[in-house]
């Protein structure tokens, strides 16, 4: 049942793929990244960005790990929630940078995202999200490998 529910969630996120046209009809995004996070991301990832165990990944865990490698950054910009978001490239870059900067987990030496990074990567949304995620985690140093590689 849990497997089924997780599949349903991915299916739902996949449905967002067809919705890019509707983006312009929605409310304008704010100039404040914190507010954009609440209105465009927190519905699934939660106000504390901790997600839902086995259902929605915790950004508090994965962002600091993934932002340090090229493949991790590419993944972050191509996951369904980011690539299909109604937020603009600039708005998305600002939300990601704000999130990383405000996380409790220290993230030394990371490079901020810019709108061009987001624009380029979101043109090719990920199809095999779980597989890509598992691969990136397996490339991390052993001490940083999180135990939920097969959960999402």
């Amino acid at each position: 049942m849990q497997r089924l529910t997780t599949s349903t969630l991915w299916l739902a996120l996949g449905l967002l793929l067809v919705s890019r046209v509707a983006a312009s009809l929605e409310r304008p995004e704010s100039t404040q990244p914190a507010q954009n996070y609440v209105l465009f991301c927190a519905g699934c990832h939660g106000l504390n960005a901790k997600g839902v165990p086995h259902k929605v990944p915790a950004l508090t865990k994965t962002l600091p790990l993934f932002v340090s490698s090229e493949e991790g950054r590419d993944f972050l910009l191509r996951v369904p929630g980011v690539a299909n978001s109604a937020l603009s490239d600039q708005g998305l870059a600002a939300v990601l940078n704000w999130l990383i900067a405000t996380l409790d987990t220290p993230t030394p030496g990371w490079t901020a995202f810019v709108a061009e990074d987001v624009h380029r990567a979101r043109q090719t949304p990920l199809m095999s999200v779980t597989q890509s995620r598992r691969q990136i985690i397996s490339h991390l140093p052993l001490s940083k490998q999180i135990g939920d590689a097969n959960n999402y």
Binding site: R27, T31, G43
Partner: protein, 174 residues
């Protein structure tokens, strides 16, 4: 008497054997099993939309049990305030959905827009009281994060939908 009963049962058994097949029964049973499994995955009918209350829009109401209450501007479901909970908390025995959709509502009392989280309360069968269907800013299912027809209990251990709440998250600025 016993012989007559035997003959009757024999005739009935032969009748069934000649007119039905074991495969036919298996097919029917299989279809029923599949149907019963798929039924919970269908979109939730939130209490019959034809009968759902629509906002009258007459006067600004400050009653959490009324569909006209300002912060219900995009709610679709049974109001938890009528189901043993409040406008922002779930009734006992139910659990708020950890995933939800978040929108904004205009508060006529102070003229400001507020961010509102529409959580479903899950774990019991439908409450059935105070059905309310308002759709300001709501989007079709293909924009799932802004849709109020989805069963947001889908990520709960018990995905039964009971009622909906509107939780204020703060003032929406520019």
């Amino acid at each position: 008497m016993q012989q007559r009963l035997d003959r009757l049962l024999e005739r009935a058994s032969r009748h069934v054997a000649q007119r039905t097949s074991r495969r036919g029964f298996l097919g029917l049973f299989g279809a029923a099993l599949t149907g019963a499994t798929l039924l919970p995955l269908l979109p939730v009918s939130r209490g019959g939309q034809a009968m759902a209350a629509e906002p009258t829009g007459a006067n600004a109401v400050d009653d959490p049990a009324s569909c006209d209450y300002w912060k219900y501007c995009a709610i679709d479901g049974f109001l938890c305030a009528c189901c043993g909970g409040t406008s922002s908390s779930c009734p006992p025995g139910t659990t708020p959905s950890p995933i939800t959709w978040i929108g904004t509502c205009h508060n006529p009392a102070d003229g400001r827009d507020y961010m509102v989280s529409y959580n479903d309360c899950c774990g019991k069968t439908s409450c059935g009281a105070c059905s309310c269907n308002r759709n300001e800013g709501e989007k079709p299912m293909y924009r799932l994060s802004l849709n109020n027809d989805a069963n947001w209990c889908m990520a709960n251990d018990n995905p039964n939908y009971h009622c909906s709440v509107s939780v204020l998250l703060g003032v929406a600025g520019q």
